[in-house]
């Protein structure tokens, strides 16, 4: 049994290695790898094997590594393996004719292996290693068409932004290791009440926010659409971005012990969901609509989780994975067939690509939440949790459902409904059409997933909704669908809600980039001030030492101490300037002038000559050694 468990993540990894070394039939090797994984899973059946061992020990710390298949991981691992298989088949057709296919499929297999390891891991160390591996695979896959500048930048941006989140995760699990002396997750969760839960939960939240593209780290996901469609379908809609939600779900006892952080999760999720839904209604690129939609749906999951409904979040995670990847698959088919994704140029494709149109329609209806399609049940679960927290929250949820309907029907109608100008296209081959269809049908029956989850997950169920809420939800989604569809038919691909969501989107992006730019400008400004600050230090050193020029010049080069004193000087000067007007102002003026000239002189110290730096370095060492010794 444990051998089968080991085979689950190992099969794709071995396949990846084989493809990298051998290079032929890479697409089918990839399918084989994932298929073996799924087979192993099916053979395990309903057992819950686990396998764990120490990785290394150092002093009092012990790092373990192991795989464990419990309820939550079972859900996700089936999801990853199953969808991985279907999308791998799709990818064989999609990548036909491209060069460097072995590189793509090797990385793809590696990603699936790493994702499976992430989900199955029972130790923070292995989870983090897999987390990083997934990030690396994402970077490589997004930047697959590395000759295009857009792809390179998107890959780099994705990697760097998730890296920012990864710092939080790293700090979190290292802190956990420090406190519990082991990296085992299960042990950690049993000790949650004795640990500083808020700090730990906040750190893990940062990690999840990075990986799941929530505010303020959203910008990378829409740009990641520069990668090939199978990548978008698997990574950026269903699995990698779900890793953040998975982390939250796995650590739910920790978050339950930190209600403040739960509130933060809800706020982050809610804001992200709302903003990105608005943005999605105004996009003109089909894949970008879907990307923003993914962000919005993930935000909904975060929101609901923060309100205390982990079951609903998990349920929606599963169903979302199904329908979102379907949508991406048909978008990819459209791209292959019509060579463009610009919705202003597409139209009337259903006659030429009936299978893809059907796939998109089924998945789109699922997203909107119409019964009896799959997401209706998960969205109902989410609504139940929301309503439990007040009817205002429930109304917010309805707004989100409405917006979802708007953007998806706008996208679908603009692409497939006959309009003014119709694009030219042909239907895509079987390899590309059928996996999408299979997934769409699976999404249809997503409601059944809820039953399965009830048995597997350790979370309490969401409360049922009353009939009035249910009707409101249905009408909200229907209204949304209608609005979007009608506007798309009549006005082409213009934004469904007018232009202001687009402005909102730019504002959103500006916020996240703006903080970065603000810091940069601040540092540039500080550099200008630093000249004066350093000379302030020199002035103090002058007065303090009153010694020879050589000693002064050496000491004033010590940046750190100078900065501390200079900070003092600066704050002192600020206060004085603000308080007095005339008498002190003149003195302050003179001081500033003096500082300026001294700063100019001090600039001569930063000559860039290495030997001066080494000289100062060793001189400082000497002085510190003397000081340390004499300061008994």
């Amino acid at each position: 049994m444990t051998a089968l468990l080991l085979a689950v993540p190992l099969a794709p990894l071995v396949a990846s290695l084989l493809i990298a070394l051998w290079g032929k039939h890479s697409g089918w090797l990839n399918v084989l790898g994932v298929g073996l994984s799924l087979l192993a899973l099916l053979l395990i059946g309903s057992a819950s094997p686990a396998l764990s061992g120490p990785w290394f020990k150092s002093g009092a710390f012990q790092l373990t590594a192991g795989l464990a298949l419990d309820g939550l991981s079972k859900v996700l691992v089936y999801l990853v393996a199953g969808m991985g298989l279907l999308i791998s088949v799709y990818a064989v057709g999609y990548m036909r004719g491209e060069k460097s296919q072995p590189k793509f499929f090797a990385t793809f297999s590696f990603f699936i292996g790493a994702m499976l390891t992430l989900v199955l891991s029972d130790s923070f160390a292995l989870l983090f290693a897999a987390w990083e591996g997934v990030g690396l695979a994402s970077y490589l896959l997004i930047g697959f068409h590395y000759t295009e500048a857009k792809a390179r930048q998107a890959a780099l941006r994705a990697f760097l932004m998730t890296r920012v989140g990864d710092v939080g995760l790293l700090l979190g699990w290292l802190l956990a290791l420090n406190l519990t002396r082991t990296s085992d997750i299960a042990t950690f969760l049993t000790q949650v009440n004795t640990l500083p839960a808020t700090l730990l939960a906040a750190l893990f939240l940062i990690g999840a926010v990075g990986k799941s593209a929530q505010l303020p780290l959203t910008a990378w996901l829409p740009d990641a659409m520069a990668g090939p469609t199978p990548v978008s379908a698997l990574l950026h809609s269903a699995t990698m971005v779900a890793a953040g939600v998975y982390l939250l779900l796995r650590l739910s006892p920790l978050f339950a012990a930190a209600p403040a952080v739960l509130l933060a999760v809800a706020i982050v999720g809610g804001l992200t969901a709302l903003f990105s839904a608005f943005v999605a209604t105004a996009q003109t690129d089909l894949k970008r609509v879907l990307a923003w939609s993914t962000v919005s749906q993930l935000g909904e999951m975060f929101f609901v989780y923060g309100l205390g409904g982990p079951f609903a979040a998990a349920f929606h995670l599963g169903v979302h994975a199904l329908f979102k990847s379907t949508l991406f698959l048909s978008a990819g088919a459209v791209q292959h067939a019509a060579d463009t994704l610009d919705m202003r140029r597409l139209g009337g494709l259903w006659r030429m690509m009936p299978l893809s149109a059907l796939t998109f329609a089924l998945a789109g209806l699922t997203l909107a939440g119409l019964p009896p399609f799959g997401a209706f049940w998960s969205e109902e679960a989410m609504l139940g949790t929301a309503v439990q927290n007040g009817w205002l929250v429930g109304a917010f949820m309805l707004l989100l459902i409405f917006l979802a309907g708007v953007y998806i029907s706008r996208a679908g109608v603009a692409t497939f409904w006959p309009r003014g100008e119709n694009a030219q296209a042909h239907e895509v081959g079987t390899l590309m059409a059928w996996p999408g269809l299979i997934l769409a049908v699976a999404a249809l029956f997503g409601g059944l997933l809820g039953e399965a989850l009830r048995g597997l997950l350790p979370f309490t169920l969401s409360p049922e909704v009353t009939l009035s809420w249910r009707i409101s939800a249905i009408s909200a989604s229907a209204l949304g669908l209608a609005w979007g569809g009608v506007r798309a038919v009549r006005l082409g691909a213009s934004p469904a809600l007018g232009d202001w969501p687009r402005a909102l989107g730019t504002v959103l992006e500006g916020l996240t980039l703006g903080t970065a730019r603000g810091t940069w400008a601040l540092s540039l400004g500080l550099q200008w001030v630093e000249g004066g600050l350093n000379s302030g230090a020199r002035f103090t050193a002058h007065g303090a030492m009153g010694g020879s020029r050589g000693v002064q010049r050496a000491e004033s080069g010590f940046d750190t101490s100078g900065r501390v004193v200079a900070d003092f000087a600066l704050s002192g000067a600020n206060l004085t300037a603000r308080a007095e007007k005339s008498g002190f102002a003149e003195g302050a003026n003179k001081l500033a002038n003096g500082l300026g000239t001294l700063g100019e002189q001090l600039r001569g110290l930063e000559t860039g000559k290495i030997y001066l730096y080494t000289l100062i370095l060793f001189g400082w060492v000497l002085i510190m050694a003397l000081a340390a010794v004499l300061w008994r």
């Binding site: 150092s58 030997y611 000289l615 010794v629």
Partner: protein
Amino acid sequence: MQWLAFGLFTLLTVLGALGMSTTMSMFRSGIFLMASFIGVAGLFILLSADLIGLLQIMMYIGGMLVMILFMLLFSMDPGGAMMAGMKMSSIERLFSRGLKPQREDEDGGHSGQNEMNEEGDSDEQKLHDHATVQHSGMKMGGGHDHHAMQNSDDRSGQSEQDQPHHGDMAGMNMGDANEAHNRHDHAAMNHANTDHGADGQKNQEQSGEHDQMHHSGMDHGDMDDMEMGGMDMSMVTPARPWAAYLGLAVSVVLVGLLLWRPAWPIYNGPFSTDAPREIGTLLMGKYMMAFEGAGMLILLGIFGAVMLQRPGSHPSDQGRKAYVTSEENPVRISEDES
């Protein structure tokens, strides 16, 4: 007996390090460094750390020194030819004996090779040999001797009077015409003073190291007016006086700390001398993380170094072509005329 070995190795080490830092030829620097390494290895073996001593030889000399010597091939004037003609302080001159400077007025032949046994028969030569013989066992007097000799065309009478300087460290003859070197000499003197103070009573045990470091005989000819045009071709940075003082100060502070501190508890009991076993046990057990970390670092270092030195793809980089020596259209041997 132990003191003898200790003195020997200490001398080797310190003189090696000193020579490395003051000689004008970079290649000689490398060799002096090798001597220093051997000295330290000897000291390690004296300290019953034979494994470390052998490791020192293998890793430092066999690895790093070879790397350094290879890198010298890239540098300008590794043999010290151009430097040899310049003004230098006495200690530098001491360690740079034998370097033949490059002279423009020669018939293009000499490009500054180290002259091992240049037998020019001038009066200076005989004086040199005389001085060499008398110098076995003392350093500073000899240096001065040279300097005074070379820089005084018109002061030949003065050359002999600096000979008897055995053990007389304080009697520094500052008959040096060159003002600018005074400070350097002073610093270098004090430098030498420090280590002489340490192994003070070992003067008489200074056996032939000197001889094997110096080459007998050289031809310094018209060295004193051998300034290298307007080029700033110095071996040292402008921070040299500061550096000398700083080095001196650090040594003095460290020695002072040492002497001022109450004694360490010396352990005199038995201990295991099976170093590999002990080290192995510790590395695999208590220090496993460090071991792994070091291994990882080595790997990273290897990859990094290999990656860094590839012929790059920067437009200004000449790329692979610059390093490939074979021709594109080779001529057959039978048709090769030369």
